[in-house]
Symmetry: C2
Subunit: 261 residues, 2 copies
DNA sequence: CTTGACCATGACGCTGCGTCAACCCTCCAT
DNA sequence: ATGGAGGGTTGACGCAGCGTCATGGTCAAG
């Protein structure tokens, strides 16, 4: 008659595991000797080994009991279920591996490579690091809402970077938000440039937002994001409204009906 | 300002998940409105999306906080660690899949195919189902102790099945243990055959147990297993001892020094 | 005013054990 | 006989990442 330690060693498991199997009723409690020790016979050893064989094959403990009693067809069915489950798990983990490999490649973090490239270009044309981070967060919001459309928009956005007006805009904005001034007169100039660019994009129909235009939430978040990053952005929003545009970031073809006073 | 439900919907997670991230300090608690509701700004949305991006890539929540603050090299290092971990997990699951496929193939359960074949042959030569199950459990015990050696032993065991003496032995044993008689005279005959076979195996050195012979535990378990399956096996053990053999199943070249009286 | 959809906190459940804690039992060497 | 090492016993918390009640307050619409 074996003690729990000897039983566990024979089957190649821990003592704790054996006690756990008792607790969940997978392995019946054996008789105790005079001092209260569990004493195991050879059938317990066989049972334990068979339990471990199934457990090592990925069978959940909760199903092992039934499987050991099942007939051939029930057994085969259960095996199939478990194999399918294992396959799904493996697939999930492999998807994770691909994703983490992408994270390692670019320092992307939730953004497609086109956007990363766009952000790099922004740095090149003189946008401050804070500006670029703000843009990045903005695109994260967009990419979360329209993961597929974002990649379609990027070529147009990247092409815009060749426009000297836009380059000037980003430089002015970078300087304004880098400075400590409470109210910068250059905000007016920035607003003028933005309004011009918006007008241009509107008439040429360059950027087609399509049905996305009906979902205001992402654009509201973009505006709020800018204001949260720097309260002076609120002033810029107001200036844009004065010029008839619904918001700072909303350069879509949807002018306010009448410019508010 | 978003409610928790809106925030969760935007980031594609459950409300419960967001609260969980608060609880573990991964996402800072936002301000509450007059009625105690959490109200989220756009930076919270960005944070949550970045958290989910890492989590979906298989990064444990406990490490996401550090990763979001890490510099490029620290980040890359962490990514490598996590990828290794994912690789190990996938490997484990694939091992499980192979094992479960084997379980499906034969109805083996902890036994190599050679043993399965041997058990089938036992059925063919007329061993009762109970006998075969007993043998199966015995081999499970052997295979647990010497997984590699068992496969080497099987050709010899299978060859033995051609011996008419052994065929006769299994038939007699099957009949005895299938009957209700308390003490069957054929036990003597069985013991005689077994002793003869043991003698034969001993002199011919057919089965070489080698160093395994020094570990008594598995053999003791085999004996006890038989007795537990049917108490009448005890009588057989006694008869074997009378004939100078250490046990029923122990047909190894280790006769007792002197047959006990 | 009611109803249904959301919000809040708190607590248990799941999987398969690992790891104390606090105490008892056995065996072996002195 | 005694002391210490190395077993055994039960009980309880911990882990990862939330799902799922339970119970109760809040908000918006009919």
């Amino acid at each position: 008659m074996l003690t729990i330690g000897q039983l566990a060693a024979y089957a190649g498991v821990t003592v704790r595991a054996v006690r756990h199997y008792h607790q969940i009723g997978l392995l019946p409690e054996p008789q105790r000797d005079a001092s209260g020790y569990r004493r195991y016979g050879p059938t317990a050893v066989v049972s334990l080994i068979r339990i471990r064989t199934l457990a090592d094959a990925g069978v959940p403990l909760s199903q092992i009991g039934q499987m050991l009693e099942a007939d051939a067809s029930t057994f085969a069915e259960a095996v199939h279920r478990i194999d399918s489950h294992l396959r799904d798990e493996i697939e999930r983990l492999e998807t994770s591996r691909k994703q983490i490999a992408q994270l390692a490649a670019g320092d992307s973090l939730a953004l497609p490579p086109e956007v990363i490239y766009y952000l790099d270009r922004l740095r090149e044309i003189g946008a401050s690091e804070r500006m670029v981070e703000g843009e990045r967060d903005g695109w994260i919001l967009m990419a979360a809402r329209w993961p597929d459309r974002v990649r379609e928009w990027m070529p147009g956005k990247i092409a815009q970077l060749d426009d000297p007006q836009l380059v000037r805009l980003y430089r002015i904005l970078s300087e304004i938000f880098e400075s400590d001034a409470g109210d910068d007169p250059r905000l007016e100039e920035a607003a003028d440039i933005m309004a011009g660019l918006a007008e241009q994009a509107y008439t040429s129909g360059e950027i087609d937002l399509g049905e996305e235009a009906h979902d205001d939430l992402p654009f509201d978040l973009l505006d709020a994001l800018a204001v949260e990053a720097d309260p002076r952005a609120q002033r810029l929003l107001d200036l844009m409204r004065e010029r008839g545009w619904a918001s700072w970031t909303r350069t879509r073809p949807e002018r306010l009906a009448e410019p508010p006073d």
